[in-house]
């Protein structure tokens, strides 16, 4: 298991987007007090896909739209996403998905 001090920033963000894998995802989820399920992973993959395509952390609105395009409408609802990521699908989900710290807190 990689030393988390080497691959994470002081605030617990993955230093390198490309370092992410299932093991690291589990570790990041644990640090957030979550147990990773396939439902989580599905959303994390959408988040990573978004960042890879658009080079930016999405807002809730953009994420919902992306999920409804890539997965389905039910999974794009705030309710569903906040159930998976209680501290916020953007704040928490992006961290577990290995996205970098965003510039803005809107």
């Amino acid at each position: 298991m990689t030393n988390s001090g080497e691959i994470l920033t002081e605030k617990g963000y993955l230093k390198r987007f490309s370092d992410w894998n299932l093991e690291i995802a589990k570790m990041l989820a644990e640090r957030e007090g979550l147990v990773l399920t396939e439902q989580h992973l599905e959303i994390l993959r959408v988040l990573r896909g978004f960042y890879q395509k658009y080079q930016r952390t999405p807002t809730m609105r953009a994420l919902s739209k992306e999920i409804s395009l890539v997965l389905n409408a039910e999974k794009s609802s705030s309710l569903y996403l906040f159930e998976l990521f209680p501290n916020g699908p953007i704040q928490q989900g992006c961290k577990i998905a290995g996205l970098p710290r965003p510039a803005h807190c809107l």
Binding site: R56, T59, R61, A62, E66
Partner: protein
């Protein structure tokens, strides 16, 4: 509903104007505004296909422009003469845009509640 028009006339790199204009636009998108965006002059380069910023060590901030509909931004214009002068076609662009003349852009400005220039 408030109508807000953003006019982007600067090229994507060289300074932070375009990138910070985009941040303001996306910041506006969380509200219920009717948002429009117009690319004129060198601004058209922001949506030009095949930008490669890695060799410069710069983040490709304009990639997100391809996802503007995700943010509810659907009125995206490109000024016709600006494209022509730069030898570009709408097919060279990363998003679907509506072609607009300078005169029609003036109308847009007049009918907007707020206009931001970047």
């Amino acid at each position: 509903m408030k109508r807000i028009l953003f006019i982007f006339r600067n090229p994507p790199y060289g300074n932070s104007t375009s990138s910070e204009g985009l941040d303001l636009l996306l910041g506006a998108s969380v509200f219920e505004f009717e948002l429009s965006l117009a690319f004129i002059d060198d601004g058209v380069f922001q949506i030009k296909y095949n930008q490669q910023t890695d060799p410069l060590g710069l983040k490709n901030f304009s990639a997100i422009l391809a996802a503007l509909p995700h943010y509810g931004i659907e009125h995206i214009y490109v000024e016709q003469e600006s494209l022509q002068k730069r030898g570009l076609l709408q097919t060279d662009l990363i998003i679907e845009t509506k072609l607009i003349s300078a005169a029609l852009l003036s109308d847009q400005i007049i009918s907007s509640d707020f206009v931001f220039h970047f």
